[in-house]
């Protein structure tokens, strides 16, 4: 008689790690490791704008104020839209071998459905939680931005949760040209909500770890030990945009105005 064991999931807990460093770590673990990973980062150090792989600053950002206020802008390796993150943001990232989650096909909608179900466990009892047009919402207000990257036999699903946010920071972001239908022309402040109004911070982290633990055997790993898990060269596409790139974006915005 064979007993199936839950696949192993390495858990890395970070606090205040710069988002660029977190994304570099994730890209490395996705491409150069063969293990499953759950990374939780409790806030990042400074307000930072993070765009998806295909993001164009001239279309997505108020580039003038971004340059003036020296807000770092990152282009990440996953798809999806633009967020501005800071010390109030909570990050949860899940990197999985497709064979360790056999009910999930390595395609965006299947991975998203799985994550929606997982966070459904986390927010059980919290009124109005749902995955709505690929966003995590309470009712019709978004509180989490998520994105994915799928490689041959593995995928990552990562989320930035709006625990709290500074309304002034939202002013750096333009209304994107492609929005979900449920957004209904609302600006950022009318469209998003603060997770702290719905759940305690520590409660959310522990319930997330517990929900992941319902599907995997969890093992805590220290950041200092990561090198032994991820060896060799890998494609690195996450990067900080240069001042020159931002200035070019501002110039192209002025030309098309």
């Amino acid at each position: 008689m064979s007993i199936s064991r839950a696949p192993l999931m390495n858990l890395v807990r970070l606090k205040g790690t710069p988002i660029l460093e977190q994304l570099h770590l994730e890209e490395r673990l996705l491409r150069a490791s063969t293990d499953n990973w759950c990374i939780v980062n409790d806030g990042t150090n400074v307000p930072t704008i993070v765009m998806g792989m295909s993001g164009k600053p001239s279309q997505l950002l108020e580039v003038g104020p971004v340059i003036k206020d020296r807000i770092p802008v990152i282009k990440r390796f996953t798809g999806g839209g633009t967020v501005i993150v800071d010390k109030s943001t909570l990050f949860v990232s899940l990197i999985c071998n497709k064979d360790d989650v056999p009910s999930v096909q390595p395609y965006p909608r299947s991975v998203m459905a799985w994550s929606g179900s997982l966070y459904g466990e986390v927010f059980e009892g919290v009124d109005g939680f749902q995955l709505r047009e690929n966003d995590y919402v309470f009712g019709d207000r978004k509180f989490g931005g998520n994105a994915q990257s799928i490689i041959r036999n593995r995928w990552i699903h990562h989320t930035s949760f709006l625990w709290d946010y500074n309304v002034r920071n939202m002013a750096y972001l333009k209304l994107p040209s492609k929005v979900p239908q449920y957004r209904l022309e609302r600006d950022h402040t009318e469209f998003v909500c603060r997770m702290k109004d719905y759940i305690e911070r520590s409660d959310f982290v522990e319930k997330t770890v517990k929900a992941v633990g319902n599907q995997f055997a969890m093992k805590e790993v220290n950041l200092e030990d990561i090198d032994s898990y991820a060896k060799g060269e890998h494609v690195k596409s996450t990067r900080l945009l240069t001042m020159e790139e931002l200035q070019e974006a501002m110039a192209s915005t002025a030309q098309s105005a």
């Binding site: 792989m53 295909s54 999806g80 395609y107 965006p108 990257s149």
Partner: protein, 156 residues
Amino acid sequence: MAARFLWASRVASHLRISGAQRGFSSVVLKDLKYAESHEWVKINGNKATFGITDHAQDHLGDVVYVELPDLGRSVSQGESFGAVESVKATSDINSPISGTVVEVNEVLTESPGLVNTSPYEEGWIIKVELSDACEAQKLMDSDKYSKFCQEDYAKH
């Protein structure tokens, strides 16, 4: 979506493939070779054209961006050379065969949706000069790929 159905019906009719006979409805063309990661390749002498299959584009959803490799870059069988973005996800495109990139489909920069509406024709992604034509023997023909997709469909 309507354009895609029309295209698929025309191709299926031309190739006498009935989607209704299968458990899935993806189009598979007979004169191509296929990788398990759902890329197709059309070999013509020492050159080849790549793209992603109808099965892949259907599962990916609406493609909004295609990351193309640089001309002159080497690609290796089974390794990633680019990516597509759809539904908030980037998905690697893997090379079905090794070679050197000699042409990229720049139309995809402005019209990434061609990967969905015309995956085997206007949605081609790159052309390469082959480095080892024997690698094609490791790929599936249309019948094997159809069976592979059906088994994948049945699992889920």
